[in-house]
């Protein structure tokens, strides 16, 4: 077995996402891999990360892996629990969220995300859950990190519906539209990291995971993917990271299955 097989794609994605977080930052946490990534960061290089959930738990220290964003374990022992009007107005719109995590059924060339419908809005082929808090997180968080596995279906050139705006959305650029946050600065996939090009806002290939060729990445993207000059190599999860993920953070492999 090569090193590629020593850890799963989900483990790699979680470790990569965790490294995007700096100590002391305030993170708007989603459930699943983002939650694992935050807890991994807290257990390693960022012990002072403040986790905020849209359900109103601030500074949560869940003693079990929360299944939903409103799990009771997010409340017990947290620093503060507030109503959702405060979450969206006093924390998010106020500009206090430094990082937000987003995922979606479709992510396009300019980082726009669709979690609403596949097909036409009025007669959808697949009805997805909708925005939840994603639209406003995409607009207000100082930066967002998107997590998604590569596939041509998941990375079309244009999304069917813009739920959460990226760098060039309906009507123009973030600056033209007056969006406070910097948008999706990174997309963490199962094979590589994409980053937004500073000039155009287009997602480009920035770094490859161990053992992955650029061509494999392009095969999972629905537009002609450009490469950053000086493509970086991403370190695999360390033994310590893997041990934490497997033994402490998700021992039942609820989110680290694949």
């Amino acid at each position: 077995m090569g090193i590629e097989a020593a850890y799963s794609p989900a483990e790699m994605m979680t470790a990569v996402a965790a490294r995007e977080l700096r100590d002391g930052e305030v993170v708007f946490v989603g459930i699943g891999l983002p939650n694992l990534a935050c807890n991994l960061a807290r257990a390693t290089h960022a012990p002072n990360l403040v986790l905020i959930y849209e359900s109103g738990a601030v500074g949560a220290v869940p003693e079990r892996l929360p299944v939903s964003i409103g799990d009771p374990s997010l409340v017990t022992g947290s620093l503060m629990v507030c109503g959702m009007a405060d979450v969206f107005q006093s924390f998010l719109q106020n500009g206090r969220m430094e990082v937000g995590f987003l995922g979606g059924a479709q992510i396009d060339r300019f980082g726009n995300i669709n979690t609403t419908v596949v097909g036409e809005y009025g007669r959808p082929a697949v009805r997805l859950p909708g925005s939840g808090g994603a639209a406003e997180i995409a607009i207000h968080a100082k930066r967002t990190v998107v997590i998604s596995r590569l596939s041509r279906r998941a990375f079309p050139e244009r999304v069917d519906f813009i739920t959460s705006p990226g760098h060039v959305a309906r009507g123009g650029t973030r600056r033209q539209l007056g969006m406070p946050g910097a948008g999706p600065v990174k997309v963490v996939t199962d094979k590589a990291i994409l980053e937004a090009d500073d000039a155009t806002g287009e997602l480009v290939l920035a770094a490859l995971y161990p053992g992955v060729e650029a061509g494999e990445v392009c095969a999972g993207i629905g537009w002609t993917l450009r490469c950053r000059p000086g493509l970086k190599q991403v370190d695999p999860p360390s033994t310590a990271e893997l041990a934490l993920l497997r033994e402490v953070l998700d021992p039942h492999r609820l989110y680290l299955k694949g």
């Binding site: 507030c82 959702m84 998010l92 009805r127 939840g132």
Partner: protein, 294 residues
Amino acid sequence: MREAVATLVGDGDTVVIEGFTHLICFAAGHEIIRQRRRDLTLCRLTPDLIYDQMIAAGCARKLVFSWAGNPGAGSLHAFRRAVEGTGGAALELEEYSHFGMVGRLCAGAARLPFWPMRNYMGTDLPAANPRIATIECPYTGERLATVPALNPDVTIVHAQRADAQGNTQIWGLLGVQKEAAFAARRVIVVVEELVDERVIRADPNRTLIPGLIVDAVVVEPWGAHPSYAQGYYDRDNPFYVDWEPISRDEAALAAYLNEYVYGVADRAEYVARCGGLERLGADARVCAGVNYGY
């Protein structure tokens, strides 16, 4: 509960049963299904299993929402069938984001016609929902998004405890319980425990909803199951996972409703039929009190 729903929830009403993951009043939803209310406009941030059941049971004409999924477990399939046109009656949608729904209830609670927010630029949501509008700031000239007030005919809120007058205390996740109650024309509070007024008065900062806006207090232990009540019982996560295949199969969903909703007279029978809910009973993590003296 039977009387509260009979007198306070009518056909065609706009109904809010709130609670964000926490304190979702399944007991009220089931009673509304049993009393076969029709043409309801159901509003919630997260329709959750309870609205999926109400949609399947034919109570809903319209859904107003911001996130329609089974958290961590899958889809709401009765909802999807209705929207994708693959089964069930047609369902009108009015869709926002969470912040939009929160703003609608804030406006409703303040009796303002709209709520301003910085939101929706660059998204397709205003195109999908023309009720998302904009307004110009009289000071800066900026354009801000607005959502219209939501003032439901009736709001149903589950809570840990209230006194007989409806003075209601909630802790743990608060969601939009307060705003939903103040926004409504009629309010039903459903509690795990009825307490003496002295319990409420001993810690008045814990009171979220004053009795003066409450029309009925219903005592219904386990009334939020499979949702949860902090300090009383845990969320029934396996139930949510098991719901995915039931919801996917129209016949299985109908059978579920027959057994657990139509087939029981009230919440106590539901609890008995579920069996073993005590396994979800909360551990003790009691905080210290604070001093209200002077």
